[in-house]
Structures are given as C-alpha cells and as structure tokens.
Symmetry: C2
Subunit: 460 residues, 2 copies
C-alpha cells in the first residue's frame, strides 16, 4: 500500500507516524517544502524573542528520525498537481526545479495554511511579493527574515492583535524594539472576550507595548522599502502616520486547499477541506488533517478551521490510522482549547467567545471569579480571573476563559473535559477539586466561577 | 426553624453559611470546641514549619464574621449529649464547665475526627494523656504544643508516613530538626503507589529526612518524659533504639461519632456516620457532614471516610442547604481527589490506589508517562511522572497519580473530571489539551499516559 502525505507540518508527520504504527509494511512518503523534518511552528516567536537560542532548537524530529521508521520524508518537494484518476501527484523539486511524480493508493492532504495578507496600498512590491520591511510569520523562513530585519531598526508595528501578533509584540519588545500594536476592538479577539483582554492589555502596556486603539491600516508608506504605516481611526476617520522599521502582518491565515480542490475534495463553508470523523474527505481514499481542514465546533455545531497544533496532531493521528487501514475517530467536534503566555500572564480559553456564542444563537449565562490560586492566607498566591459560560437552556458549560500569572493552563483543561462531557454547572459543582494550602483553595476558583454562573442560571 | 450544628470545622461552618443562604430566617447555632471561628487545619504544618508566621494567619472567618450573617457560633461549647426525643443537645462550657442546653428542630453533626493513637508501650501517661514529648497534629492546640516542643530539642521521629506525617517531617526539618520517619511499606501509602512514593522518598532523603524502612514501633522509652523510640524491623524482628526529643504520632484518624450514636444515627462499615446523597443520617432531620461521615467511593462503590477539607466543604454545602429545607445533592460517590507539596515536589492523586483497586476486585491496566511539563526544546521544563489506571472491563479511567515539580495539581483535576464523567481511555485521547511552547507539550503527558494505558488495554 502506497500512502502519500502532502505536507510535513505537525499534522502530516504525526499522520505518518501513526500510519506506520498501523501498517508496518506500507510505503509511506511525505512531501514537504520547508527543507527540514518536523519542527515547532509555535516556537518561532520564542526564537525571535531570544527565549530560545536558535531556530535549530525547534526541530523536534529531523528527516533521519523518520527514515528509521522507514518513512520517506522529501523535505524539498512542493506538490503542485494531483490526478485523482491515475492517483498521482506532481511535485516540483525545490533544489533543482525539476518535476517529480508520486503514485499513491491513499492520499493524505496536510497542506496547512498560509498567512493572509490584506491588500492594503503599499503592501506589495511587484510580483506579489511583500515590500521590504513587511513580513508575516508562518514558517522558519519567515522567522529568519524577521530576525534579519530586527537587526536593521528599532521600531515595529504589529498589524493584527491575535495570538501570533501578540506573541510577536512580546518577542520584538524583548529584542528592544519600540513596538506598536494596532487594535480594532480588543486584543486576542478570537481567543477571549473584551474584559479578559483588558487584563492582558494592561499588563502589555506596563511592559512597554504601545496600542493604537480602534484603528485600521489605510496605507503603508515609503518609496522603495516600507518606511511607515498610516492608521485610520475607525470612529473619527482621522489618520496618523507611524514611522517604523518593521511591519509584521498578523491578520490571520487561510487554509491551503489548491491540491485538495484539484483532487476533487469538497471545500466547506470556511474555505477549508471538509472531513468526516475519520478525517476522510469527500473523495474516497483521500484524507486530510490539520490547518487545511474544517470540522464542527462541538458547542455551536458550525464548521470551524482552527489552526492549532494541538488539534493538528490529534487529527493527524486519526487521519494516519485510518489512511493506513485502521480505525480511529475524532470526537464529535473540536473544543478549540487554546492557550498562550504573554508578558508574564498565562491566558487560556476553551469553547466559543461570547461573540461567537451570540452569533451561533446560543444565549449564555456568565459566571466570573476574581480569585487567587492559593488560600488567602498562603504566601505566593497569585491573582487569577476566570469566567465560565453555560447555555441558558440546559445550564451546560459551553466555554471558559482564564487569565493569571500561574496555574491557568491546566485549569482550562478541566473546563475542556467538562465541555467534552456535556457537564452542567450543577455537575461541575460536584467535581471535587484538589486542595492543599500550597496547591489550591478548598473551593477552587473554577468552582466559584461555576457557582456564580449557576446562581445567575437559576434566576433565568 | 432552629438549626443546631455541632462542630465548627470546615464542614460545620460551611453548612452554616449555606443554611443561611437557603433560609434567611432560621435560627442557626454552631457549637465549637476550639475557641475560634473557622481556620484552616491543613495550614497547621506550614505554621509549624515557619512558612506562615503565626497560627492566627490560619483563621479565615472569625466568630464575628458569622455574627454578621446572624449565625451564632459558640466556640467554647463541647457537645456532650443529645436527646433525639425532645430534640435537645447538652454541651459543656469550656470556659466555666457549666452545662448548656440547646433545642433544635434540625440537627447537623459535623464533629470531625480525632487523631488515632496506637496503644504502644510507653505512649500514655496516667489518665490517658500522651506522655510529654509525644504529640499528634489535629487542632490548633496540638500545633501550639508541637511548636513549644520544637524549641526544646533537635531530633524528631515521625510515627506514620501519611499526608500529615510527611508534611510534619518537612515542617520539622525546616525548623532544623534531625527528622526520622518510620516506614512500614512506602510513604503516602494511602495516597500513591510504591513507584510514585519512591520519587518523593528520594527527594525527601536529598533534603535530609531519615527513613527507617520496614519498621514498627515496639516501645517508646524514657522514664518520665519520652526519651527514645524503639523500632522493630518487620522482616528481621531486630530492634533499634532512636533517642529523640519529639515524637509525632501520625497514624491516621478516627471519626468522632459519640453524639451521632446517642442521636441514634446509623454508623457505617468504616465506623463513620452513614449519610445519603442529601447528607441525611438514618435519623429524620439529623444531617451529618465532613470527617465524621462515610460515603461511597465513586469507583469501588465501597463506603469510605476520607477526611479531606475539599470533601468536607462540599458535604457541608449540601448538608447546610438540605438542613435548611433546600435541595442539594452530592455526586454518586467521592473521587478522593487529594494533593500536597513536599520538598519541592507536587504530589496529586485521585481515585483508589492500586492496592485499593485490587482489594475491591477491580482489575486495572496502568499507563505511565515519564514526561516533561513543556516541549523538549523549551527552557524551564520540569520532569513530571504520571500514571493513569483504567478498569480492564470497560477501559474506564478509575484513578491517576502525578508527581513533579510543577503543574501537577490542576492536571489531577482533569483526571478527576474524567473519572466523574466515566470517560474511557479512548474518550480521554479525544480531549484536546491546551498547547503552547511555554505552557504544555502538543500531546500533554496526561494524553501520553492514557495512550500507554490504552495500548495495554487493547492487548488485554
């Protein structure tokens, strides 16, 4: 059995490993275009910020590692075409530009996503390239180019305040750059609600980040290379020009679905590849996994294309098992359990934001707790803010958001388990949380937030 | 409505608060024998060890706080008798020894537990008192006496290696005492299995604790005050004498059920008061909560009397609501979610130990992960060891244990949620755990442990 995997990101290479575990005989080939084995894309901002010494540190499994398991990773082969009739993929060699042909019995598409660059005046040079001084972060090559630019100036503008935008803001400020972030509504808007974002913004401002609220980019200035960004205030229409040396565009990403389209795979409502719970596309024997796919959100039931490594590897696992003839299933939906650390704060969330809940027609009650990680009397306690959302109809937990200096990440996993299991607020209050003075309060802040939500729910 | 609560520990005073929330008119009286409001018993070792400056720091809600809610806490009234026919309790005033009478419509018994002292030669002075130099830790008074003794010597023996015994070992070593711990099998035997305990023992030894393995106390020596402990090796029978200045007996506790017996309440198999899911005893209008009660273990179905503050407050809540005429229910069983920190290690567990599973006839598969809290490449990662147990029959998660320097406590809460919801290993693999390089690996060590268990379960 010939299994061909297009894409050497976390989803594709996890799929390769699990395909190998499932079928020891299969011929497994992986086409990649980044020139290396498996590395952590999420680690890139930490190299740029100097937390990690080198990009090489991010390589988790080199090509040779896969060879040991008889997985043929071709790290310089960019898939360009597919013929689903004859079951063959054409690729371009990034070494010599030559054409390569790969036959398959089963195809697994894990082509990921690419940075989305809004078409603002002054963004592009001729030939669709970004002008010098304007960069987006997606690949190791992007990170390398950003680090070169960091050497050349000391003022940066982040266009976009999502997860990667904010991680880049911290990274560039750690590198000593004066860093501006343009905000439309609030930072991390896809991740947390405005009240939680305010805590993070406050901390970021203390650490020297300059936010420009309610603004959009109207033009990028400069004659040859980029020299400034012109922002327009969304309320007043007033324009201001910010002379900067580096612009990071962090306006989200778009799934890469060209190959999938050519293979005849159905593209879903989000523009990503639609897959079933076995990660199969609409085409028999063609599977897909990772950032190029969409899948229903467990809470809203609507298809979403998330682009998180944690989801990518889980999909990769299921796709790899099934592609190799085994049987694996995804849960009924994605939880979108997401986390980061910024400016000494841990920020985690699971389930839809309030805005997303509203847009899906789900009315929710919110319970909030401004608590402490440890009992009041215990030294070293840190402030922690939690909110938990439950649907008005059944009182079921549908989302949670947490911000604090410590012990945030694993608490969001508790809420993730609650949502996955359809726990109501009442059920959640029955969850014994662990307690010891140096560990957590008798009633955990999670319990207190759920209790606050329950009180509101009972008055509904 | 007159509600009388006997016991001013966490369960009794939590019950008082929730009774007040449920019924704003009720006459609520709480009889306590410790001379103060609500304080954290679990915090006592941290005052003894000097982590907290004073016992007063542990008082979370003084008597006056309860008065504001019209809850009459009598902190020096030791209940001595009850007449369920006339619905009256007799108490002895600890101030003047006088008798007091309290009438009730509803009685709530939260008498807690007392330290169990094995009857070893040389333990008791005349009148059933412990000889000077021998102490147990349960109350603030105990802690005060231990701190006085700490001034008087520099060698201590801990008899018992459970949670309180080990917390006292650390506290006394922090106070500069040479500290011995006698072990029968392994430390924290009620909390974790031998392999996990070995990690903690190793660390404790590095921090200067002296363990005396496979030993039992055959005699406590000394003419007037305690002067030494004679230990007998359980295998060889050989005896060794250890001259010490202080002996801490930490051999477990016994529920205090005298009043419950007099009220006619059924005492269960563990010797504690049997309650239903509303915390009602076998006697109508008599409720009970906390360390004096037993309740089924969720996994084994067998009654257990746990003695954890986290369970006590949850029972107190339900008991208080029901005693005041509301409706609250406990979950079907207790999870026994327990945690501590010792010598810089976080140690958490939920569900029965392997020994308890075996004794309940539950065959289990074990998955273990020696992992890291962060991705391999990220600075600051800490080692973490997890094991997860699933029943052989259904592959349902029944227990978990975790030891590590960081991020242990909240991970055990994730497993607690898994057990409460009856998740199988397969279900658990479907749980998206949060991921970011400074937060957790793409596949959390929890997922890896569950994966290891699943592989074994599939080969069953």
């Amino acid at each position: 059995m010939k299994l061909l995997i297009i894409g050497s990101g976390a989803a594709g290479l996890t799929a390769a490993q699990f395909a190998r575990k499932t079928d020891r005989q299969a011929e497994i080939t992986v086409l990649g275009n980044e020139g290396c084995g498996e590395y952590s894309k999420c680690g890139l901002p930490y190299v740029i910020g100097g937390v990690l010494p080198s990009l090489d540190d991010l390589i988790e499994f080199p090509v040779a590692w896969f060879q040991r398991f008889n997985i043929d990773v071709r790290p310089e082969s960019e898939a360009s075409d597919v013929d689903p009739e004859v079951k063959a993929v054409t690729a371009i060699s990034l070494r010599d530009g030559g054409e390569e042909q790969y036959r398959y019995d089963v195809l697994l598409i894990a082509t990921g996503a690419s940075s989305w660059i809004p078409d603002v005046k002054g963004t592009f040079a001729g030939g669709g390239e970004l002008r010098e001084g304007i960069l987006a972060l997606r690949t190791m090559g992007d990170a390398r180019r950003i680090m070169e630019q960091v050497q050349k100036g000391n003022r940066a503008m982040i266009v976009g305040s999502g997860l990667i935008g904010m991680e880049m803001a911290e990274a560039l400020s750690l590198r000593g750059m004066r860093t501006y972030v343009r905000l439309r509504t609030h930072l991390l808007a896809g991740m947390v609600d405005e009240d939680m974002a305010a805590i993070v913004q406050n901390r970021a401002e203390q650490r020297g980040i300059h936010f420009i609220p309610r603004s959009t980019v109207s033009e990028i200035g400069g004659v040859r290379r980029m020299e400034s960004v012109v922002l327009r205030n969304l309320d007043t229409g007033e324009e201001s020009e910010y002379p900067v040396d580096l612009v990071i565009i962090s306006a989200g990403s778009r799934p890469r679905v060209e190959i999938a389209r050519k293979a005849g795979c159905r593209i879903g409502a989000t523009g990503a590849i639609a897959v079933d719970e076995r990660c199969m596309t609409s085409v028999n024997n063609v599977f897909a996994a990772g950032d190029c796919t969409e899948y229903p959100d467990l809470v809203t039931g609507r298809p979403v294309s998330i682009g998180l490594g944690s989801i990518g590897v889980r999909q990769g696992r299921v796709a790899g098992v099934n592609a190799a003839g085994g049987m694996g299933r995804l849960p009924l939906g994605v939880l979108n359990n997401r986390t980061t650390e910024l400016f000494g704060l841990e920020i985690s969330a699971v389930g839809p934001t309030m805005k997303e809940l509203r847009s899906a027609g789900i009315e929710a009650v919110v319970g909030k707790c401004n608590g402490w990680t440890l009992p009041d009397y215990f030294p070293g306690k840190k402030a922690i803010t939690l909110k938990v959302m439950a649907d008005l109809e059944h009182g079921r937990i549908v989302a949670a958001q947490i911000v604090g200096e410590e012990d945030v990440h694993q608490r969001i996993n508790v809420f993730a388990a609650a949502i996955l299991n359809g726990m109501t607020l009442e059920d959640f209050l029955g969850l014994e949380t662990c307690y010891a003075p140096p560990a957590a309060p008798t009633l955990d802040p999670m319990t207190l937030a759920a209790d606050a939500a329950l009180a509101k729910w009972k008055r509904r």
